[in-house]
Symmetry: C2
Subunit: 194 residues, 2 copies
């Protein structure tokens, strides 16, 4: 059994991605982690917000690692994007559409409510964007174009989570993935040839 602190973060991450930040109570988090209120506030004296910040950092790093793994395996940028969306679609299906990315979910809720959480989400998005940008740079794209394309891909992924989950239809995520893959193909072909 993992350490109490880790179980708390994992429990919160799971609940946040299903119910969001405001929709999740501290009792649910401690229950899910088999922990007590005392333990939670021992590890996170800053309370719910501090715990959420840790969830964002940890989950963000996890997804970054996953994306880096995909780019290492893929033979082209377009294929990496294709795998990214297919993986997200499969996850959504396998969890009966309850497990989305906790960061996209929390980001919209806290953007205007808590400045520390807002910047935490922003930092995570920045690491994702940077990694995708580096990938597109290898295809010969300009820094600006690569960054814009990376931002677009991440936005499409976030929006795809919203639509696919709302429709309870992973094929919507796949359709978006195919469009973005085609867009990346076109953009990288232009970048490397021009």
């Amino acid at each position: 059994m993992a350490e109490t602190r880790d179980r708390l973060v994992a429990s919160a991450a799971e609940l946040f991605q299903r119910q969001g930040f405001n929709g999740t109570s501290m009792k649910q988090i401690t229950d899910g982690a088999n922990a007590t209120t005392g333990s939670l506030y021992h590890f996170f004296p800053g309370g719910k917000n501090e715990l959420a910040a840790e969830v964002i950092r940890t989950s963000g790093a996890g997804y970054l690692e996953l994306f880096q793994l995909v780019t290492a395996v893929a033979t082209s940028s377009a294929q990496a994007i294709s795998m990214l969306f297919e993986g997200a679609a499969a996850t959504l299906e396998n969890s009966d559409f309850v497990d989305a990315c906790p960061i996209f979910t929390v980001a919209l809720e806290v953007a205007s409510a808590d400045e520390a959480l807002r910047t935490a989400c922003d930092s995570v998005f920045a690491t994702w964007t940077a990694t995708a940008t580096a990938m597109f740079r290898k295809d010969g794209m300009t820094p600006k174009a690569a960054d814009a394309l990376a931002t677009t891909i991440i936005a499409a992924l976030g929006g795809a989570y919203i639509l696919a989950r709302t429709a309870r239809d992973a094929n919507r995520m796949r359709a978006i993935g195919r469009n973005m893959t085609a867009h990346v193909e076109a953009a990288t072909a232009k970048g490397s040839s021009g």
Copy 2:
């Protein structure tokens, strides 16, 4: 001064887009509408969920109308998409990044929590998709391709709200808009020529 019922819906819509569904209390809604609890439950006996469903329907119809206006003015599908994102970017800037689309915000929160609200959001997305699909069909795209492209545009818009609001940077929305405009240009050119 608008009717009490309308003021309640407007107040709830504004608060939802800033703080989300779970982050907004009934007291905030009635205060913002200059109404009382009695009035709220007179018009919405189903409480917060019934009010939220009405907000989703009303806001969804409003955005649909706005989009139809844009397509009527635009000289091409690509230009319509460009205007769509620019309009969203301007709104974000003018409200100091607090006013996002209430439906995207609420959709993620309630997708796994309340079935009626989930389908309400889904219906709204369906009307948006249908309108955009019709536009792309006029460019000669196949029904399937047009639908996939429409879904992709809406997803990108939703994700762009998340990223731009989190970064407090409307240019992120604009960068995504340019990418999607280029993608639509490529897709419609292919569709009308092939």
